[in-house]
């Protein structure tokens, strides 16, 4: 199924639409009430944008500084070029410890590399511990939202799921009881796990520290109880200083869930030190590239890397609100997905979703780090239909965007060529519009794709040009008559 078919299916799923409508409104309202006023948001956004831009500007230096300081703190730092390498690396660490049971805190980077599946193939069981991810894993699905993974499910659906999949559990749709069931089921997993895997919200270069935020406590459990902790972070997650945390965290938590702070902010700098009584014996950090260094090459597209994964863009996107996360068929949905996915996996595969945009601009307005999302979506839309770049050899580092021109069709290219031809010449333009207005009865029906959801517009009897000309002539005649009398 392609994107259009998936979107169509989602649009016809009334239950899904109700769930998403309510959920998105909830998240938008929460966000709005977390900022005192627009000025509060603008100031924090400005500061956060500057911090993220500075970090990007110095990305290679900061990554080296991060590596040096983490290593000095006792954290093993690894680098992974792509998803496959990251999975092999992580599986290798797990196998070196004869690990069999892995418990995972929330990590979109791990979804991006398909970690659970890769580990499963090695006979390693990987349990999601974030309540929403746990639910989605039980259901055999993927998350539909980057912050609230089970947002597409009602509590009744979850109640049935728990009853079916968990041993000794009776049906209850009381949320407190459902959470209690999840707590008991996962407590066992935290207890037994050999390995804990987590993501990273921010990696602080000056101190070699990993910052993780959460409300549930599963992140702390996963990164503290098992003897080995593996953290996976995209290379863009690095920030220079500890003092960058207050503005970034304040804008992240407000934008994501409308909180001024999450229940837990966890700063991890080293494994269990001599004399300490708990904490993992080993901590590993996997720095993931997976297309990010390529994004960095492009002056405009590198802004993709400013993202702090708050989810505000998708909460405010009218398309996402109506079709939900799964319709995109990608790890990252919504506006951020529309710019990230084509750059990671190519426009051939993900070009279609760049059309799923009304260019209303809400995403760009609410982005806490000022990513010009509408501009980037438009850029990728152009890229997918563009003619190939000139034949002049490109310098080694400047690569063409993967899949550039992959959606270019002769029909569309010809259509634009004809349009340009007509609009560039006033005489031809006038002739064509005259023809259309006079011969409008003979107009062929527009394609079904247009008319299925829209009323077919009928060309007027006269072109606008003619109407205005007539009016000005009438006006002149009136003035002349007035003057004569």
């Amino acid at each position: 199924m392609n994107f259009r078919q998936q979107a169509d299916e989602a649009l016809n799923d009334q239950a899904l639409r109700e769930n998403f409508k309510g959920a998105m409104r909830f998240l938008r309202d929460k966000r709005r009430s977390a900022f005192n006023d627009e000025g509060h948001f603008q100031c924090l956004q400005g500061q956060s944008q500057r911090i993220r831009e500075e970090a990007l500007q110095h990305l290679p230096e900061l990554l080296e500084q991060l590596e040096t300081n983490c290593t000095a703190n006792g954290i093993h730092v690894h680098w992974a070029e792509d998803a496959a390498e990251a999975c092999i690396l992580i599986a290798g660490i797990i196998q070196s410890h004869q690990g069999r049971q892995v418990v995972k805190g929330k990590s979109m980077a791990s979804e991006e590399i398909g970690l659970n599946h890769a580990l499963e193939q090695q006979g390693i069981q990987c349990i999601e511990s974030d309540m929403g991810e746990f639910i989605v894993q039980l259901a055999g699905e993927t998350p539909s939202h980057i912050i609230m993974p089970a947002i597409h499910k009602s509590k009744e659906q979850i109640a049935h799921l728990f009853e079916d999949k968990l041993v000794g559990v009776h049906y209850t749709d009381q949320v407190d009881e459902l959470i209690g069931i999840g707590r008991r089921a996962l407590r066992e997993k935290f207890y037994e796990a050999d390995i804990g895997i987590s993501g990273v919200n921010f990696a602080i270069a000056e101190s070699g520290t990993l910052c993780l935020v959460e409300n549930e406590g599963n992140g702390r459990m996963s990164t503290t109880v098992p003897p080995v902790h593996i953290a996976i972070a995209g290379i863009e997650k690095v920030i220079p200083r500890l003092t960058d945390l207050p503005p970034l965290l304040s804008v992240l938590t407000r934008s994501a869930t409308g909180q001024i702070i999450t229940t837990y902010v966890n700063l991890i700098s080293s494994p269990r030190k001599p004399g300490e009584k708990d904490g993992p014996l080993e901590v590993h950090l996997v720095l993931l590239d997976n297309g990010r260094s390529r994004m960095y090459l492009d002056q405009q597209l590198q802004k993709t890397l400013l993202c702090i994964r708050c989810g505000a863009c998708m909460n405010h996107c009218p398309v996402y609100t109506r079709i939900g996360g799964h319709a995109y068929g990608s790890v990252y949905p919504g506006p951020i997905g529309q710019i990230v996915m084509p750059q990671i996996e190519g426009l051939q595969k993900h070009g279609e979703m760049t059309d799923a945009c009304s260019l209303n601009g809400a995403c760009g307005e609410v982005c806490p780090v000022g990513i010009p999302l509408p501009d980037l979506i438009r850029r990728l839309r152009e890229e997918k239909s563009s003619a190939p770049l000139s034949t002049a050899p490109l310098p080694d580092v400047l690569e063409q965007l993967k899949g550039r021109g992959s959606h270019r069709t002769r029909f569309e290219a010809a259509s634009w060529f004809i349009w340009k031809f007509i609009y560039q010449s006033p005489r031809i333009y006038q002739t064509v519009t005259w023809l259309i207005s006079r011969l409008r009865w003979l107009m062929p029906p527009l394609p079904r794709a247009w008319t299925r959801y829209r009323t077919l517009p009928r060309p007027a009897a006269n072109s606008l040009h003619e109407i205005l000309l007539q009016r000005s002539q009438n006006g002149q005649q009136t003035t002349d008559r007035q003057r004569k009398s």
Binding site: G39, E64, E81, R241, T263, S269, E276, K277, V397
Partner: protein, 249 residues
């Protein structure tokens, strides 16, 4: 793997180099205008222009900020008990009596841990087991996860603007004390609470020393809204957080 590292860094540096050349050529500037002050620093709570706090200037906590600290914790479903250095064990015990807790985890090396143990031994209505954290977590993992009902720790600081406690786990009070038992009691002195997160960082200056292995900000009991956006407490961390504020300390 060092090849991967070098390749990634080389690609990033090459991009920087090209951009630097482009900027020299076109004379573009990469600076951004800010509406608020030269520093461009905002007060995270209000969005108004602010100056970055300095380490030496530590203001006493205002009454408003203290109230903000307390009300934010309460809004997050934490229980807050205002007390003083002399009476807190008695106040705490009275508040917790209805819960009939019989198995506690506390430190045998901190002043507050020892005072609480002593108080429970002397005044508790029911028989109470007090466990101390052994040399390693592994030595009492089953007990920690299954039997211990409550733990008490000190806090090392607090933030008024967010209603947060700062904990710096150590050998005396390890990380899991404030995570695994279903009820967590944290003691904080009024003098340790600062107004803003930025002040806390300025006060501690962690970046100038080897970092503590783990630093925690705790702002309430564990919670989640993952099921139909309905808030529920006690997801994986403690279901209850009790904060004892020592007003005279």
């Amino acid at each position: 793997m060092s090849n991967t590292r070098d390749r990634i860094l080389a690609r990033l540096r090459a991009a920087q180099h090209i951009r630097a050349q482009a900027h020299c050529g076109s004379g573009q500037s990469a600076t951004h205008q800010t509406a608020h002050g030269q520093h461009g620093v905002c007060d995270t709570a209000t969005g108004k222009a602010a100056v970055a706090p300095s380490a030496d200037h530590a203001e006493p906590l205002s009454e408003d900020d203290l109230q903000l600290f307390i009300s934010l914790l309460q809004a997050a479903h934490a229980e807050v008990i205002c007390s003083n250095n002399a009476e807190w064990p008695r106040n705490l015990q009275e508040a917790l009596e209805p819960r009939a807790l019989t198995h506690w985890l506390c430190s045998e090396s901190t002043a507050s841990g020892m005072r609480w143990s002593a108080h429970l031994h002397q005044y508790s209505q029911t028989a109470v087991t007090i466990t101390h954290y052994p040399t390693t977590m592994e030595a009492f993992k089953a007990q920690l996860f299954n039997d211990i009902q409550a733990a008490i720790t000190d806090a090392n600081g607090g933030i008024a603007e967010t209603g947060s406690l700062l904990l710096e786990p150590s050998a005396d009070e390890p990380r899991l004390m404030s995570l695994v038992p279903p009820l967590h009691v944290a003691l904080i002195k009024r003098s340790q609470i600062v107004s803003r997160f930025a002040n806390l960082l300025a006060h501690n200056r962690w970046e100038t020393q080897p970092m503590p292995s783990n630093i925690l900000l705790i702002s309430g009991p564990s919670k989640t809204a993952d099921i139909q956006q309905t808030l529920a407490y006690g997801a994986h961390g403690p279901k209850e957080l009790v904060v004892v504020v020592l007003l005279d300390a």
